[in-house]
C-alpha cells in the first residue's frame, strides 16, 4: 500500500503533521476497585515507531482504548493527532485490536470496502484500494470468497489490509504479533515500516519485549498500571551504565570464575553472556581469557536487553513478582 495515489505526497503530509501524535497527561482509569492505569504521561512523537511494553494485565489495552476513545478516562488529558476530540481524527487512525475478527459471512472484497467506508473512504476509492491491496497479497482471486472460507493465515492478511486500507496517519496495533504465523509476522512488519516511511506514526503494544527491541525507536514500559520508564531505546540502555560482554571461545572456562570482574554468567551454548562487575574493565576480561589459554572466537560488548532493564526497573519500583510476569513472556516463542 506504500505510495499509490491514495496518499498525498510525503512533503505535504509531513508539513501537515505537528510534532506529537499522541499526548497523554495524568491519565487514570479505574474499573470498580481496580485501577487499570494510574496517572500515565505518554508522549509519542510523530513519525516514530513506539512500543508500549508490559506484562499481561499491565494496562496496555486500556491505554489504547482510551487513546481511541472507545472508553473515556476517569481523569487526565488525551490528545491524538493534535486534537482533543478523537472523533474528528478517527478516519486517520488505523487500529488492529488484540481480539481480531471479521464478519464471517461477508466476502473479502465487501468486507474491505465496508471498513474503508467506515474510515471515510468513498466507495469506489475503497474498492480500488482494496483491490490493489489484495493483488499485493496475492489474494486477488479470493476477493469474492466469504471470510469463513479462508485459512486463518489469509484471514490475518485481510485483517491487516482492513487496518491500513485508508493509509492512516496513526497506526495502533494491540499485541500485533500474537497468534500470527511467521510469514504474516514478516508481512506485518513490512506494512509497519512502510507506513512509517510514509510519515505515519505507529504505536504498538506487546508483552514480548524482544519484538519491541527490534522495531521501536522509543518505548514506554508499564507494569501494574504504572509507568516504569520511557524514552528512546538507546537512551534507556545508555542510562543503565552497565556492561555485558558476549564471549565465544574454546578451552578452559576457568577464567570466568573471577568475582572481581564477573557479576554473572549465562551460558548461551555457542557463547557465554557475561555481566561485568561494577567498574570492571572489559579489556582486563579479554586479557585473562587469553592468558588462561582459551581460543577466543568472539568478544563483543553488548547492550543490556530491554527485558533485563525492565525487570530491574520493575523490581526497583517494588512491584510484586506476579506483576512482573516476565517469566511468562520468556517462555513464549519469539517470532522470527
Amino acid at each position: 500500500m506504500s505510495s499509490h495515489s491514495l496518499i498525498a505526497s510525503r512533503e505535504q503530509r509531513r508539513s501537515a503533521l505537528k510534532d506529537v501524535a499522541i499526548h497523554l497527561r495524568g491519565m487514570t482509569k479505574r474499573f470498580g476497585q481496580n485501577t487499570a492505569v494510574r496517572d500515565l504521561d505518554l508522549e509519542v512523537p510523530r513519525g516514530c515507531i513506539y512500543g508500549l511494553l508490559g506484562p499481561n494485565g499491565a494496562g496496555k489495552t486500556t491505554t489504547i482504548r482510551i487513546i481511541l476513545d472507545i472508553i473515556g478516562p476517569d481523569s487526565g488529558e488525551v490528545m491524538v493527532l493534535g486534537s482533543s476530540d478523537v472523533e474528528s481524527v478517527r478516519s486517520r487512525i488505523g487500529y488492529l485490536p488484540e481480539e481480531r475478527g471479521l464478519y464471517p459471512k461477508m466476502s473479502v472484497i465487501e468486507q474491505l470496502v465496508f471498513f474503508g467506508e467506515l474510515k471515510g473512504l468513498e466507495r469506489p476509492k475503497a474498492r480500488r484500494s482494496a483491490e490493489l491491496g489484495l493483488e499485493r497479497l496475492g489474494l486477488e482471486d479470493r476477493a469474492s470468497d466469504k471470510i469463513e472460507a479462508l485459512s486463518k493465515g489469509m484471514q490475518q492478511k485481510v485483517q491487516f489490509l482492513c487496518t491500513i486500507l485508508h493509509a492512516p496517519d496513526l497506526l495502533i496495533l494491540d499485541e500485533p504479533f500474537s497468534g500470527l504465523d511467521p510469514m504474516n509476522v514478516d508481512l506485518l512488519k513490512q506494512f509497519v515500516l512502510e507506513r512509517q516511511r510514509d510519515g505515519a506514526t505507529v504505536l504498538f503494544s506487546t508483552h514480548l519485549i524482544e519484538d519491541a527491541e527490534r522495531l521501536c525507536e522509543r518505548v514506554c514500559m508499564i507494569a501494574g498500571a504504572t509507568k516504569v520508564l520511557d524514552g528512546r531505546v538507546s537512551d534507556v540502555k545508555a542510562a543503565t551504565g552497565r556492561l555485558e560482554v558476549a564471549i565465544g571461545f574454546e578451552g578452559d572456562a576457568g577464567f570466568l570464575d573471577s568475582p572481581d570482574l564477573v557479576d554473572r554468567v549465562s551460558d548461551q551454548g555457542r557463547y557465554v553472556e557475561v555481566r561485568l562487575a561494577d567498574g570492571a574493565d572489559p579489556q582486563e576480561m579479554l586479557r585473562r581469557a587469553v592468558a588462561a589459554g582459551a581460543r577466543v572466537s568472539r568478544f563483543e560488548l553488548v547492550e543490556p536487553s530491554l527485558r533485563e532493564i525492565f525487570i530491574e526497573k520493575a523490581t526497583e519500583a517494588g512491584l510484586s513478582a506476579r506483576d512482573q510476569d516476565a517469566g511468562q513472556a520468556r517462555q513464549e516463542p519469539v517470532p522470527a
Binding site: E87, G101, K105
Partner: protein, 401 residues
C-alpha cells in the same frame, strides 16, 4: 446534517444486504405466503366438503311441541336435508334421547323443546325461549348447522303465523333483516364506511405486533453479531456508537419492511386473482369492500406510521393502550404510543394536520434518541465480559459513556 451519514449508510447497506441475501430470507419470504395460502386452500376444501355432504346427514326430529315437528321436516327437506320425525321419544329424558341416537339409523337428532313456541299472550316475557338441541354422532359442518338453524326459524315463524290465523306468506321474506351501514360524513365530502376501517386498523395492529416480535429477534441477533465475531473493537473505534445503532435499526428494519412489502404484493395479487374468500366472508358479515372508497392519502400515512413505529420499536429492542377523548389525542402524539394510536384515529375520524406532523416529528426524534441511548449502553456493554450489569450501572454508562 442528516443523521444518515456515509458511515451510517455503509452500515445500513451491510446489514440489509447480508440479511436479504441469506437463505433464511429466501425461505421465510417464500415460505410464509405458501403456508398461508396452503391453510386457506385447505380451509376452503374442508368448507366445500362439509357443504356438499348435506345428503349424507339423516336427521330425526324429536318433537316435544306436538305440532312444530311437521313444519320443521317440511322446511329442512326443502333444503335437501334428509329429515323425518321420530316417534316415541317425545316424552323421553334427554339421556334416553342421547342413548337412542346411537341405536337409531339417524346421524342427527333435532330436539324441539315444548316451550319453544312460547306463550302467544306474552311474547315479551323477557326470558329467552328454551334452546333447540342438535345431537350428532359426528362433527357437523358450519354450513349444515346454519341451514338447520334457518329451517327451524322459518318453521317457528310459520307456526306462529298459523296460530295468529295468517296463511300463505313466505316466512323467508318475513325473516329478512335490515343491514346497518355506518358512514362518516366529512368536510371533504368523502364518506367512508367505519366498520371496514375498524377491522383494518385492528388487523394492522396485529400485524404490527407480529412484525415486532419476529424482527425484534433479528435485531437482537444483529446486535450481538459484532461481539460474537470479535469485530466490535474495530467498529467502535471507527464509528460513533449511535451511528452503529442507527445503521442497524434502519438496516434490519428495512429487511422487515422489504419482506412485508413482498408479502403484501403476493397476497394482494392472490386476492386480485380470485381468492375472494376473505371478501365474501366480510360481505356476509355486512361489510361491503367494493362500496368503500380507498383513501390513498390516509393509506400512505398509515404506512408511514407503521414504518416509523416499527423502526422505533426495533430501536427499543436494540437497547433492551389508551381510552378515548383528550387522553387519546394526547397519547397519539407520544412516540411510544403514536404508532398504534394515530393510525386508529386516522382511520376513524379526521385528524388535524398539525397533530399528524407533530406525531411524525416526535417519532423521528425519539428514534434518534433511542439509538443514541442504546449506542451508549452498547459501547460499554460490548466490552464487558462475564459479569452482568445492573440498572444503576447501565444508567451510569448512558450518562458517562
Amino acid at each position: 446534517m442528516s443523521p444518515l451519514t456515509p458511515k451510517v449508510r455503509a452500515i445500513v447497506r451491510r446489514e440489509y444486504l447480508q440479511r436479504v441475501r441469506s437463505k433464511w430470507f429466501l425461505l421465510s419470504t417464500l415460505g410464509i405466503p405458501v403456508l398461508f395460502i396452503g391453510i386457506g386452500v385447505l380451509a376452503g376444501i374442508l368448507a366445500v366438503e362439509s357443504n356438499t355432504d348435506f345428503e349424507t346427514h339423516s336427521l330425526g326430529v324429536v318433537d316435544r311441541t306436538g305440532r312444530l315437528g311437521a313444519l320443521v321436516v317440511e322446511e329442512l327437506l326443502r333444503d335437501s336435508i334428509l329429515t323425518s320425525e321420530t316417534r316415541g321419544l317425545e316424552n323421553a329424558s334427554n339421556e334416553a334421547v342421547r342413548d337412542s341416537l346411537l341405536e337409531s339409523p339417524f346421524d342427527l337428532f333435532l330436539v324441539l323443546p315444548s316451550g319453544i313456541l312460547g306463550s302467544a299472550s306474552d311474547p315479551d316475557s323477557g326470558s329467552d325461549p328454551p334452546e333447540v338441541g342438535l345431537l350428532s354422532r359426528n362433527n357437523v359442518g358450519s354450513a349444515v348447522q346454519r341451514t338447520i338453524r334457518q329451517g327451524v326459524n322459518r318453521a317457528l315463524v310459520r307456526s306462529r303465523l298459523l296460530d295468529a290465523g295468517v296463511e300463505g306468506i313466505d316466512p323467508a321474506i318475513l325473516l329478512q333483516s335490515a343491514r346497518l351501514d355506518v358512514v362518516n360524513v366529512t368536510q371533504e365530502g368523502g364518506a367512508r364506511s367505519q366498520e371496514v376501517f375498524e377491522v383494518i386498523s385492528m388487523l394492522l395492529a396485529l400485524v404490527f405486533y407480529a412484525a415486532l416480535i419476529v424482527y425484534g429477534q433479528m435485531m437482537i441477533r444483529s446486535i450481538v453479531e459484532e461481539k460474537t465475531s470479535d469485530v466490535v473493537e474495530v467498529m467502535v473505534s471507527s464509528v460513533r456508537p449511535w451511528e452503529l445503532m442507527l445503521g442497524k435499526i434502519v438496516g434490519v428494519g428495512a429487511v422487515g419492511i422489504t419482506q412485508m412489502l413482498i408479502w403484501s404484493v403476493v397476497i394482494g395479487t392472490a386476492i386480485a386473482f380470485g381468492l375472494t374468500a376473505g371478501a365474501s366472508a366480510l360481505a356476509e358479515a355486512g361489510i361491503d369492500l367494493s362500496a368503500a372508497q380507498v383513501p390513498w392519502g390516509i393509506v400512505a400515512l398509515v404506512v408511514t406510521f407503521f414504518i416509523l413505529g416499527y423502526l422505533l420499536y426495533a430501536g427499543m429492542f436494540a437497547g433492551g393502550g389508551a381510552t378515548m377523548g383528550v387522553w387519546a389525542v394526547a397519547m397519539s402524539l407520544v412516540p411510544f404510543f403514536s404508532p398504534i394510536l394515530m393510525p386508529s384515529r386516522l382511520l376513524v375520524s379526521p385528524v388535524p394536520a398539525l397533530q399528524v406532523t407533530a406525531a411524525v416529528v416526535l417519532l423521528i426524534g425519539c428514534i434518534l434518541g433511542v439509538a443514541w441511548v442504546a449506542g451508549r449502553i452498547y459501547r460499554v456493554g460490548i466490552l464487558m465480559k462475564g459479569q452482568r450489569a445492573n440498572l444503576p450501572e447501565i444508567i451510569r454508562w448512558v450518562r458517562h459513556g
